[in-house]
């Protein structure tokens, strides 16, 4: 529960101070988009920009990362794996952004631990912001067990009140971070309410299994363009590809880059075989992975947090909410 308060000025001073010790990542306006980027100071942070167009995934599982770099030297070859050494703060994460990291933790922190992800995760403190300015088009976090004021997956949760923010310190990590902030007593200030979206019905595993051969996937795939927008703006889609490249200066990088189940060649294997040659199969895979396979392995946790980014960014309006509705209705 919030019992502390930060004036807008104190918040800015705190953020500016954090910059000296932390890599501070926050939503910023960049061209036509709002994206999570490292900031130089509090002035850059777009607190009022609503849901960022891209998730904060980039700062835990970067779109492109050289996981090893080999450099020829006089005595042989030097290999280097760049891990995040500097502590990081993710500012302005929405409750669904925090939830998304908790969902990915299940995979990346499980044995074998992904050291690159784990290092970033361990060194990051999440300072969230309650969605008092939501919901936005496509939002359906309540369906996946989240909520616009859900504190569970964050370290600190800020909520707008008059003249500043109510501060809810959730974890020990959060407590350590706010030690440098000029907290005041919340007093009689009432935090703004965060409007909720009604939860949608979601089918159980049997419902999803029964829809495996549904003609619905083919109908949906007919208009699907097969681009990767939904998977790249998704906060929990985490497929990657690994390949080496040689740089002009002679070094060799082993790149880990985002990949997408929606790409026609994603499942291509040696010998020219492709186990999922049609877009219908690839679309089905995306939704089955999110709502059947992942929950089956991860104690019922879906690979979706209801952030709604794919809903608004899909060029042909493939809407995950309609998919959920179709499967739930068929299961009934």
């Amino acid at each position: 529960m919030s019992e502390s308060f930060l004036t807008t000025e104190s918040l800015s001073a705190w953020v500016d101070g954090l910059r000296t010790t932390h890599r501070v990542v926050a939503p910023v306006r960049c061209g036509a988009q709002v994206v999570f980027r490292p900031v130089e100071g509090a002035a850059e942070v777009a607190w009022d920009a609503g849901r960022a167009d891209l998730s904060a995934k980039e700062h835990f599982l970067p779109a492109t990362e050289a996981i090893v770099t080999w450099e020829p030297t006089e005595s042989g070859v030097r290999a280097e794996a760049p891990l995040l050494r500097r502590p990081q703060v993710l500012l302005g994460a929405r409750p669904c952004d925090g939830h998304a990291l908790a969902v990915m933790d299940r995979l990346f922190l499980d044995d074998p631990v992904d050291v690159y992800y784990a290092e970033r995760r361990a060194r990051t403190t999440l300072v969230g912001l309650t969605c008092t300015d939501g919901p936005w088009e496509g939002c359906f976090c309540t369906t996946l067990g989240g909520g616009p004021a859900e504190r569970r997956h964050l370290d600190v949760l800020l909520t707008r009140v008059e003249d500043g923010f109510a501060v809810d310190v959730v974890s020990a990590k959060g407590r350590a971070l706010v030690a440098s902030a000029r907290l005041e007593a919340l007093g009689g200030r009432t935090p703004e309410r965060a409007p909720c979206v009604a939860a949608l019905p979601v089918a159980g595993p049997e419902g999803w299994r029964a829809r495996f051969d549904d003609a619905f996937w083919g109908e949906l795939a007919e208009r699907c363009l097969g681009c990767r927008t939904c998977t790249y703006d998704c906060p929990v889609c985490h497929c990657f590809d690994v390949r080496d490249r040689r740089l002009a200066d002679g070094r060799i990088e082993r790149l880990r880059c985002w990949d997408s189940c929606q790409g026609a060649l994603c499942f291509a294997i040696a010998g020219g075989h492709n186990p999922r040659p049609t877009q219908a199969q690839r679309l089905r895979q995306r939704f089955m992975h999110k709502f059947l396979y992942y929950p089956a392995r991860e104690e019922g946790e879906a690979l979706c947090v209801g952030c709604g980014r794919c809903v608004v960014q899909c060029p042909v309006n493939v809407d995950v909410r309609e998919v959920l509705g179709h499967v739930a209705e068929a299961a009934r």
Partner: protein
């Protein structure tokens, strides 16, 4: 303090085996001195030099790229260098638009007997690049995207048009004249493509200014089935290119044209099976002016480069632009090809810039300005400006070519004239 090492440009030279490589040999055997900065790649013909080679070299650390071939008329394969000349003229203008100085890229002719000329061309080129310094990759997010004034809506009052469309589609399906009608329906956040197969589904057809994309993109997937498709003027032109390239069969299609109140008028009524909305008054064959393109052209190279790098930095490499484009129909895109792998999987600015440059070039003389790519782009990248620049150059260089108007006319980069010359190639 030690003297800073003077800048030594790295030059990649693609030399035709029959003339220019022999010319380089002659320079060598004659002991004619030329700068050692050039690294020579021997190719069978200047016509083999894919613009990809040039762009890839620049992205991989070359400071300049020189392509040398046989003099026009002397090609060992009769016309390889004529094709190279057209391609190069367009590509070089595109690279300049992207902020690469024109002096960094040059196509020229050196015969087997011109050892001295080879040495002179290489020396001139190397010195010009040396003056420019290394190719940099600055990024500037603060340069605003120049925007042309928003055009008036394509159709002022879309409701009657949508009603006409529903009536026609219902009739076509009821009379079994087509299997499917491709149009738009109301979606959850915007209008979206609809494949109507029954009169009941046809009743869901909608049309208004938010009908994005170009439905011609779906036609290859429906090959062999009788389909009706709703097209606006630019969509129809793209369909004409598809017909011209043999990707769809006209007899499989029932083309429903939409005439608009603004923008370029529809094609002659004979292009369509039905034309709804405004009837064509005149066919405007010329290219519209592209004020935003002109503005970018007026900037210094460094500003153009920083501007485009900022745009490409926002790119996700999601390929929505490519997937939404009716004319990007390769089954295996160069950007994803594994063997040879022309592009790294990196989602970094260099690879994304390369992808966009190649895509724009591959659409040279083919893009009809439907802007489906921009509609689909989740990052709001003004991809259309690249296509407009290329269209402008194609029209200027090859005589007012107007893409997609006449399905019989050869595509400009698939043909040539022996008597043409282009200073845009960078040669004398």
């Amino acid at each position: 303090m030690p003297e800073p090492r003077p800048f030594e440009p790295r030059i990649v030279g693609f030399l035709c085996n029959w003339c220019s490589y022999a010319g380089a040999d002659l320079a060598g055997t004659s002991r004619t001195a030329y700068p050692p900065n050039i690294r020579i790649v021997r190719v069978p013909c200047s016509g083999r030099v894919d613009p990809l080679f040039v762009a890839r070299s620049l992205r991989d650390g070359a400071d300049g790229v020189l392509v040398l071939g046989c003099h026009p008329g002397d090609c060992h394969y009769a016309d390889g260098n004529y094709h190279a000349r057209r391609r190069f003229a367009v590509m070089r203008q595109l690279l300049v638009f992207l902020g690469i100085e024109s002096e960094r890229v040059r196509l020229d002719w050196v015969s087997a007997s011109e050892g001295a000329r080879f040495a002179r061309v290489v020396s001139e080129f190397t010195e010009a690049v040396r003056k420019l310094g290394p190719l940099t990759a600055a990024v500037d997010h603060t340069i605003p995207v120049p925007r042309a004034a928003a055009p008036p809506p394509f159709v002022a009052d879309p409701a009657p048009l949508a009603a006409e469309l529903r009536a026609l589609a219902t009739r076509l399906l009821a009379e079994r004249r087509v299997e499917v009608v491709l149009g738009w329906e109301k979606g959850t956040v915007r209008l979206r493509p609809l494949f109507a197969r029954t009169p009941e589904q046809a009743a869901r057809l909608e049309y208004d200014a938010r009908a994005l994309l170009n439905l011609a993109v779906y036609l290859r997937g429906l090959a062999g089935r009788k389909a009706a498709v709703v097209v606006r003027p630019a969509d129809m032109r793209a369909l004409n290119v598809l017909l011209h390239e043999g990707q769809v069969k006209r007899e499989d299609l029932f083309v429903i044209g939409l005439g608009g109140d603004a923008g370029r008028g529809p094609l002659p009524a004979s292009a369509y099976d039905a034309l709804l909305g405004r009837a064509p008054e005149s066919i405007d064959g010329g290219l519209p002016p592209f004020p935003a393109v002109s503005e970018i052209e007026s900037w210094p190279a460094a500003k153009r480069s920083a501007f485009w790098n900022a745009r490409f930095e926002s790119c996700l490499r999601c390929y929505a632009c490519r997937q939404a484009c009716p004319l990007c129909y390769c089954t295996e895109c160069l950007a994803e090809q594994l063997d040879p792998a022309w592009q790294a999987i990196a989602i970094d600015t260099a690879e994304k810039a390369l992808f966009h440059a190649l895509r724009a070039f591959h659409l040279a003389g083919r893009c009809t300005g439907c802007k489906a790519c921009e509609d689909a782009c989740p990052a709001g990248i003004p991809i259309g400006l690249l296509n407009q620049k290329v269209a402008k150059e194609v029209a200027r260089l090859f005589g007012g070519y107007d893409t997609g108007l006449d399905p019989q006319r050869p595509l400009p980069l698939a043909t040539f004239r022996k008597d043409e010359t282009f200073t845009e190639c960078g040669h004398e």
